[in-house]
Symmetry: C2
Subunit: 557 residues, 2 copies
């Protein structure tokens, strides 16, 4: 055996980016370095001055470059790894986070005449100001019976690629005309590092209406959206997309120098944070649902055939690993609901007990909640504090709780919120299974599983399935990127020839497995029936009280 070889994974998050150095033979993470983006999330005013409207969220693309330049050398140093021993680089990004650029890749915001124009910057995934455009896309898409409506489970999101591009065309035609390319930051960063514009199939399929073997909707559709957009694919996007794990190119001399890596180091095609995590969770076959659990949950599943599942975020061939259909679903608030409760719902007696026992109040709350039996609280909630992504795709739905009495205590409410999010996941699982897509067990990663044993046990009990935990839990996207870097290098280059091989050697799960308990599972199945009845009553039009209350709320402001 020769000397150890390493792959570099770079994970571009919302507030910061992370570089990890991973040993190719066994996936061991030797070092990790996080760099905050200097301009962070830009949602009040541009660094150049102008104020933003509500619901805007931008980023500065130059921050991504700064992050790479700082984090990569530090991670290498901390790992004690020389640049020449890095055989491949993979990246993953938030999505859809597109930006307008010139033909040479220069972001419009980097040109003097555009730097005060909000539409010249990156529209971050959580930019929500393109809702009118999303509505128009859905209306026209449904009228024309476009394929993408089915692929996206019935609705195209305001967060996605063409909603954001249409907003530029609507509000800033000069920017629309000035851009030569409109491109996902996931692809733009690869372009910067390799000098070649090569776009990935994942964001194209999940966010931009592209279908393998079929391409995009017709010019008629885009003209119907906006006269300027008739030729948008030819003019600003292109027709060629590259599969995940393929080599995009080699590291340029300039970037080799900046990062102390070898010029020409293979770099894989751009990828998405949630999707790249799947093989890092050991999942490269159907039957295992990956849950990336944090402020929200992203659910990723592989299937052997094309299926339209209600409320999915997308259904894309080769969208996660080659040769399989990748399904993506999501819950729009999970950890966020608990954070809300910690801030707004925890009464004094919990804080007092925490002070007395010198423990964090969340630990006190969890312990008290864990002492309750399933069904003991008599409470039931709908987990819609931030709307419902899957399966209803409706941002105007809101949270609900039923069953309070004068004896209801804070830990009962907390446990009920956890249970509600677990019922949300079970609803998604049942939507998959109703289309014959098997979900045999669950694999969790992200920040939430690490701290919350009660939550994980409740998820096992509610879903009736074993839950494994990825190892590592919190850096699985970065690990997944490194794995794709190793695949870009190929076996001949010291890596692997496929993501399946890479997963076999580089990915693992922890020994700890959460297993459903029979009695709890039965009680939760009864309560889940009640959840489903309320879910359908409030969510499917029988009583649109939530929407009317929201409309009144908007009127009163």
């Amino acid at each position: 055996m020769g000397k150890d070889k390493f792959a570099l994974g770079i994970d571009f998050g919302t507030e910061s980016g992370r570089a990890v150095v991973v040993r190719v033979r066994d996936g061991k993470i030797l070092a990790s370095n996080v760099v905050l983006y200097p301009d962070g999330v830009i949602d009040e005013k541009l660094p150049t001055g102008p104020k933003l409207e509500p619901d805007w969220a931008l980023q500065n693309p130059l921050d991504y470059l700064t992050m790479v330049e700082k984090a990569v050398p530090k991670a290498l140093k901390a790992a004690g790894v020389k640049g020449e021993d890095v055989i491949g680089i993979g990246t993953d990004f938030t999505a859809s986070s597109p930006l307008p650029s010139k033909a040479d890749g220069t972001p419009l915001m980097a040109l003097a005449q555009y730097r005060k124009q909000p539409h010249a910057w990156v529209k971050l995934w959580k930019h929500h100001a393109a809702q009118p455009e999303a509505n128009r896309i859905n209306e026209i898409g449904r009228e024309r019976n476009e394929e993408f409506i089915r692929i996206y489970g019935g609705k195209y999101s305001s967060e996605w690629f063409f909603s954001k591009l249409l907003q530029v065309a609507d509000e800033a035609p000069a920017i629309y005309d000035a851009m030569d390319r409109f491109i996902e930051a996931a692809d733009w960063i690869v372009w910067q590092l390799t000098g070649e514009e090569k776009r990935n199939t994942c964001t194209a399929g999940y966010k931009a209406m592209w279908v393998k073997g079929e391409g995009f909707p017709t010019k008629d559709f885009y003209r119907a959206l906006h006269p300027r957009m008739e030729n948008v694919i030819d003019e600003k996007i292109g027709h060629t997309f590259h599969p995940l794990g393929a080599k995009a190119g080699g590291l340029t001399a300039e970037w080799a120098k900046k990062t102390s890596l070898r010029e020409g180091t293979p770099i894989s095609i751009g990828n998405v944070d949630a999707h790249v995590a799947v093989p890092a969770c050991t999942v490269v076959e159907p039957g295992s649902l990956v849950m990336i659990m944090g402020t929200s949950i992203c659910h990723m599943l592989l299937g052997t055939s094309r299926q339209m599942v209600e409320g999915m975020c997308g259904t894309v061939e080769d969208g996660i690993v080659p040769g399989l259909w990748g399904f993506e679903a999501g819950q729009s608030a999970v950890g966020d609901i608990f954070a809300w409760f910690f801030e707004h719902g925890v009464p004094d007696y919990i804080h007092q007990q925490a002070r007395k026992q010198k423990k964090p109040f969340a630990a006190v709350l969890e312990k008290r909640a864990a002492a309750l039996k399933p069904g003991e609280s008599g409470l039931l909630a709908l987990d819609w504090w931030n709307g419902n992504r899957s399966i209803l795709v409706d941002v105007d739905l809101t949270g609900t709780m039923v069953g309070m009495t004068l004896a209801t205590r804070a830990e009962e409410i907390y446990r009920t919120l956890i249970e509600a999010t677990a019922f949300g996941t079970r609803t998604i699982i049942e939507a998959f299974e109703s289309k014959g897509i098997k979900v045999e067990h669950l694999v969790a990663c992200g920040g939430l599983p690490e701290r919350n044993r009660l939550l994980m046990q409740i998820y096992a009990d509610v879903t009736g399935r074993d839950i494994k935990l990825a190892d590592p839990l919190q850096t699985c996207s970065a690990l997944g990127s490194a794995m794709h870097g190793a695949v870009a290098a190929g076996a001949a280059g010291g890596g692997y020839d496929s993501i399946f091989d890479a997963a076999k050697h580089m990915a693992r799960v922890q020994k700890l497995v959460y297993k459903p308990r029979k009695e709890a599972r039965e009680i939760y199945s009864q309560i889940f029936k009640e959840y489903t009845a309320l879910h359908d009553y409030f969510g499917r039009g029988a009583n649109d009280v939530m929407k009317r209350l929201k409309a009144m709320k908007r009127c009163s402001q």
Copy 2:
């Protein structure tokens, strides 16, 4: 004009009794004295040792005598009034709070052989252990199409007279056989003070199935309830009932000595705390709804004809004032819900602000809630934390809240709880009006209106009606009793010939009137439609999720 004359009012509450000395000519309260019952509410074990089952609540009738003996002389002394200047005495009581006694009025619990028998004591109004008996009464009553089922809005309560008596017959036949009388404490206390057993029409009508001009259900009915009870009316209750405000008799020599009052001082027929408060709130005609607002709300209204209104606690001719129909309705938790929220739902930032501003946290919460506009929270609740009395009469209903988002704050939840209880009151008002019983404005008394300006304004806005406040707010039952004492004396005895005259001179409202604001009223009318839709969905059988969750809760315990 001669020397001022005075009336004495004695209000027997749940934890204590209060004696007030009132000037007859203008109703001015000169002094008030409260005495706690030595044994208080007996709900865990008898003072004589034996433990009680869950849901029991008893009292010691001898405590009532102790209270009179202590409080009356103190109140007279504090008022600087001599016993000889007291022209009449009135009393009011919680109801239904019955006890078994011998033919001479001796409570069974005062006899050595019965003192360790729980069934020998007073069953306090909130004794809830006779639910199986109430169920049997309702079942048999409905089968036989008995009049009382209609009078009580469709359901006879476990808190009432015959449920409690039937429980004695079921569980303690020896006590049942040993009692010569089963009598409301309201009547028993008058019997003690005058030496004459004279029962009142109010408790008979509201709690004991008695109908003016018709009497009780037949012997067949009582035999169907329990073979022992066939002749219960003849044997233990009697057929004669006396109207409110009539003179029951004169104070005995023994009690005159104990209280330093004049022997023979006229004493009015027994009355009920909520009912006696109505004329003390100036209300002796139809059109004004009296709300006695505290932990719960009791709603009292006068009408000119017999009407069966959904979910009423009772509909009784002469039940409040002579010549009119008295309607009683109720909400089972109001102040109790706010107390629950103060204990279980107020987060740290409210307490922190309170400490910083050196204010009670409830004041901080109210101020923040008052700054919100109607509809601004986007929240809606059903006020069923302790079930629903009127109009659904269902103890198994539970609290619900809809509309939470990640931006929902504590003061929004608090305001929503207040609004929910106001919607509950509006539901009761609409039930009255649907039967042609007018509700033109509201008069509030009790502990809640005094501290809660926001609450009172919301009630005005939600109901669309002016709300006046009784003066005094919190001792209106005792004042009402004194007024009835003055009526027992009659004009010839220095008092008044009718409660109408007494109300004209002795009762008043405050200058402060809460008036509905047009814009708020309109928004609340919209939200009330949503409240009604959820009220009917959860409360009328479309989805019995609350009952099923409660059943699961019971199973898990």
